[in-house]
Symmetry: C2
Subunit: 703 residues, 2 copies
């Protein structure tokens, strides 16, 4: 079980110093998108101190609570008035230019192009800094107070800036201007800035400038990098990268690896949408905002703005991420500009949710250390979360019922007593299900509840006296310490599986108790199989690289598996089976134990789309008994089964993958005297070092 | 200047713990190859404590001192007698099998192949460990004493071992056997083991086994991985890797990244040699031994074994590396087996050497931190090494002579007095050359010697009194502190260049003195240009990853430039020019300074061969004056100029490159108020993070 223990990792103490200053502001900004549909909810007030929530009562706009949407005020003569009006119309924030366009000093480019380049360049170099000393910001900036800047404004970096111009004077001037504008944004306390990603993927100087700025400025604003979903044909140099905005963004990310947490995508939705694969790829990137031009909106019969079905479907996909929407462009509908945001919020309120999503809320794409149930005792709260899983316990009940009916013919229902051992009984949910299954099947059973956690045993003993008199025997011991004389069970029932099947050492635990299974006895689960799939997720990669512990080598966190509620990610190919364990083992020795629980496999995938390989997502399915199974595989997920999130095996660094590439991974399950661990290595498209070699970074301890 | 300061880095304290145990033994083993041609040299005795040197007097063989060659004793009934005989015949070491072939337990493979695989596998698993408990080592092992094992023996891992067999039983048995043999090798104290690299590049389990063994065993032997130079067609799966042994080796290296220092190549020379590019590629790998089958040898007119011209040329190339030769196969020449080694040693004695090589001896492929001449004062010994450069000072003398003759027509030779400022005069070698040039040209000069290092000033003052009375004025100051009234020079003479041209801040130093150059004055050097070339060198990569400092982040050493005497390396494409500086600057302001010494460039190379990109090698050339220049570019190296080794810019991790691939790198020279540094980023074939962003890992300090 692995989706609980949510508070055990990624605490604030692990935050990267550079990010901590703006971390809370980010969370606040993101909180906007999480709860936008609740109207006037008192419970919300504490959560939202960003662009929207905090100002609901203060500003008292008519649409308080609908905080998903901001608006890009491109042509606004009075910024403060514009901001106030936008807010009164229900917009959570406004995007404002930081510098007045009249202060743009386009030396040369305006006065004749590149011809005079050489002769004037030297002179221009010296003029640059002087020119930028003009009061380039707008006077109406000065009447907006600090709090409003932080809460309601996303700053727009001047669009004329071309840090990677091939014309040196423009490049140098752009870099100077960018420094000045970013510095101003930090000075007035902005949480985020919008910056255009230049067409064609020439971004090295932009990347260097952002790195240098973030190195110098501890409370730098987040950079929302504005990227079109699809590009016009811009390059004629045969370079495929020229026409794929995702590749431009990917370049920027790799160059800026160090400040990845400071970068997000402001994805500009285009009228012509790219194919599903291209959309899917964006869903694996940290999209913080969707930019919707008003020109995308159609007009419905009543005259209100609406989106096409295709665009609606697109928004529904992106609503899974915690993002915001920015309306840009002039108002094209007579009803008024406020109806764009009302429509977006209405769409948002109609998105579908399920139990799995709601149970995982707040933990999207955060890393959790897998449980170590043998080494650690679970806390009561952890048990409680898992006991709420509606699918799992119904499935176990039905599996036990089927086993009982198959094992005992109707004719022997009265005479034969079936011994069930619940191995790792915890607080008793499976004991309860076994008793119900016994009644439902009309078979006579007695139940042994074996549990090593002394605290859980307390609960079991209490329940055995009060709820289950005379039918349950509690054995307070590690199942591996059972003596054959303690019990001989007809049915083992256990829930020892992790997100990757065997990763909580179910094989070792059940093998250790196998001498207590009677001849012909069965185990529920009968078998389980782990699965791996190559995964693209910039967000998970960012989280992995943020892990820090000064007492451990840097690579520790790059080769530790994490339990992750994967949302902001995509699989580059479907999962493939990895290791299968069956109980009792097929080739077991006289003691009921198999020769070895070590395993090795090489898997080869064919990438179904272009992307970046950040690691492998691990899943499992399990056959409990007869027709009863459970699965956390994406395409085959048992309904409402929320006890497990996937297990992610990261890679030391991102590996670009082209559609059609072979992706080969080797995976080992290694067993020592005291621990079990996985090692893995990418073999194609490139070979990477064996990860977690010798269990140097991560083991699952047997004791 | 950068090839000195040899003792400042890579001291023993930086050794990786895992490697330190066998480090000294390695060095000793390698020392064998370095000095093999000296006969009975007393000076050698201290150096060689490995296979060869130490035993010269002790064993008293007739060919003591010829320590380059070992012999593979494949079919030897008495190992100790064989070892003694080989030594008496002049062989430095023998390769012995570790385990007796009769103890090989090839379950299944011997008795009918894979048909019975499934049914017997379970049983075999349990038998494996028991079977290997037989006394598998040879009885004659026990009569060889420990010292002889360590000095004279390279252990051979059994050739039947197939760790990556697709047949699981064979794989498991091989892994168990490999563990046992490696453990035995460590137990008897071997320095190195020979192990065959399996054909086809399936090496993941072998890699994992080696990693696991080295993790458990602190004094594990070095692994000499036996690889053929060229492969037969072994794969029919269309995988190009199947037929390229270098790619198999590269896979093993990447998987074993952690123990790279423990792996070397024992390169088996084939009768048909591969093309020059394939040979060149091996010269960039850590080849520790060449394996020469006796079948390669021809017979000369006198009946002695000799090699073909092509094989001779090959050996000459590899003799540049510090390696040994292993003769393998039965004796095919009547004269006796000793003549193979005598021939090899004779060949070795005929290899050509030059001043550059002899000056760099002992520093091949070791990393040195570049000098920081502004922040640190050079020591006298460092000055002395550089003053020995025969090319450089002749070149400066000639440059000054040409400048004087051009500046002063014969008619004014008597009347006009030329002022020469030697900027950074050190202990005075350039002052001396200027005075000689003055005499040679028949022009009247006076020389100002400007030097900031107070210790060097002492020497200058002494020399100005004793050697240079009345002709030299010593100014004990930083050249950037000179006042215009101190002097107005007609000629600046300086030697401030680093391996990468401007990397010891010649531009900043000369700019700072430019107000002391008279109108129309010249600087010697007039200009200099840096160059970069993509580089493949597993050895340099290994050295870079071995750098450690617990007080610095891990990436510090992965993005610091190093001065390296590059031997075990190859360039994947020819060098291209990077940054050029001219003095006086072309677009200088009224103060004689250029607008900026910051630079930026993107360079694209076309890879001329398949290899691994480990970094970029930096070079420079410089025009001193008129026709006089100097260069450290490989194809254009000034003869006997030994003052500079190349400057290597490493990458965070190795990038495989295919012949024809575009390799694009961006490079910045960044200047702040207190320091100058480079940042660089790979843009193709993959994008890597900007290295040394913001100078986080490395700066050249201005003060």
């Amino acid at each position: 079980m692995s989706s609980s223990e949510k508070r055990d990792c990624n605490g604030a103490d692990k935050e990267e110093p550079m990010e901590s200053a703006s971390g809370s502001a980010t969370a606040a900004a993101e909180a906007v998108a999480v709860e936008p549909a609740k109207e006037d909810s008192a419970a919300d007030a504490g959560k939202s101190s960003g662009y929207s929530g905090g100002n609901r009562s203060k500003r008292g706009g008519g649409n308080s609570g609908r905080a998903l949407c901001g608006i890009d005020l491109a042509f606004c003569s009075d910024q403060k008035a514009g901001m106030l009006e936008a807010h009164s119309l229900g917009y959570a924030f406004v995007c404002l230019p930081l510098f007045h366009p009249r202060n743009v000093v386009r030396t040369g480019a305006d006065v004749g192009g590149h011809a005079d380049q050489e002769e004037e360049e030297g002179q221009r170099h010296r003029q640059l800094d002087q020119l930028r000393l003009l009061p380039a910001t707008r006077p109406d900036h000065l009447v907006i107070d600090s709090e409003d800047w932080t809460r309601f404004v996303v700053g727009k970096i001047s669009a004329w800036i071309r840090c990677d111009s091939s014309w040196e004077a423009e490049r140098l001037q752009s870099l100077a201007a960018l420094r000045q504008e970013l510095s101003w944004a930090a000075h007035i306390g902005l949480v985020a800035c919008l910056i255009d990603l230049p067409d064609g993927g020439r971004v090295s100087n932009l990347a260097r400038a952002l790195l240098a700025f973030h190195r110098a400025e501890r409370s730098a604003p987040l950079m929302w990098v504005r990227v079109p979903m699809a590009a016009e044909q811009v390059g004629d140099d045969g370079d495929i990268a020229s026409n794929d905005p995702w590749l431009w963004w990917h370049r920027l990310c790799r160059l800026c690896d160090l400040i990845l947490g400071q970068l997000g995508v402001a994805l500009e939705v285009t009228a012509d949408l790219p194919g599903p694969a291209a959309v899917q790829r964006w869903l694996a990137e940290p999209v913080k905002a969707l930019v919707l031009p008003t020109s995308l909106f159609l007009t419905n019969q009543s005259g209100y703005p609406v989106l096409s079905k295709a665009h609606q479907a697109l928004l529904m996909k992106f609503f899974r991420l915690q993002l915001q929407v920015i309306i840009t462009g002039s108002c094209r509908h007579d009803k008024g500009i406020e109806y764009y945001q009302q429509y977006i919020n209405w769409l948002y309120s109609r998105r579908s949710t399920d139990l799995y999503s709601s149970q995982g809320k707040g933990y999207e794409d955060t890393l959790q250390d897998p449980l170590q149930p043998l080494a650690d005792n679970l806390h009561s709260a952890t048990y409680q979360v898992f006991e709420m899983d509606p699918y799992k316990y119904r499935a176990y009940r039905e599996a036990v019922r089927q086993a009982l009916v198959e094992m005992v013919p109707d004719s022997e229902a009265e005479s034969r007593l079936i011994t069930i051992a619940v191995l790792g009984a915890g607080r008793g949910p499976l004991v309860q299900e076994c008793l119900i299954a016994g009644r439902q099947s009309g078979r006579r059973i007695r139940v042994f509840a074996v549990e090593k956690n002394g605290n859980a045993v307390n609960t079991l003993l209490n329940r055995s006296l009060s709820e289950w008199p005379d039918s349950v025997v509690v054995l307070p011991t590690d199942m591996r310490q059972l003596k054959p004389t303690d019990l001989q069970a007809d049915i083992f029932v256990s829930e020892l599986l992790g997100s990757f099947g065997d990763n909580e050492l179910s094989p070792e635990c059940l093998d250790g108790a196998m001498h207590c299974l009677a001849e012909g006895g069965v185990s529920i689960p009968m078998s389980y199989t782990s699965y791996l799939a190559p995964m693209h997720s910039s967000t998970v990669y960012k989280e992995v690289t943020r892990q820090r512990d000064p007492e451990k080598p840097y690579y520790t966190f790059l080769e530790t598996p994490y339990v992750v509620n994967l949302v902001n990610s995509e699989l580059l190919a479907p999962p493939q089976p990895v290791f299968t364990f069956r109980h009792p083992a097929e080739s077991a020795g006289p003691d009921g134990r198999p020769a070895s629980n070590e395993r090795y496999i090489e898997l080869t995938y064919r990438a179904e789309r272009t992307g970046v390989l950040h690691g492998f997502a691990g899943y499992f399915d399990s056959r409990l008994y007869g027709s009863v199974s459970m699965s956390i595989l994406p395409e085959d997920h048992s309904p409402d089964l929320f006890s497990w999130f996937p297990l992610v095996f990261p890679l030391h660094y991102p590996v670009p993958v082209k559609c059609g590439d072979a992706i080969t991974v080797a995976m080992w399950r290694v067993v020592s005297a005291t621990a079990v661990w996985y090692e893995w290595a990418l073999l194609a498209p490139v070979v990477l070092p064996i990860h977690n070699a010798g269990g140097r970074s991560f083991t699952i301890n047997l004791y």
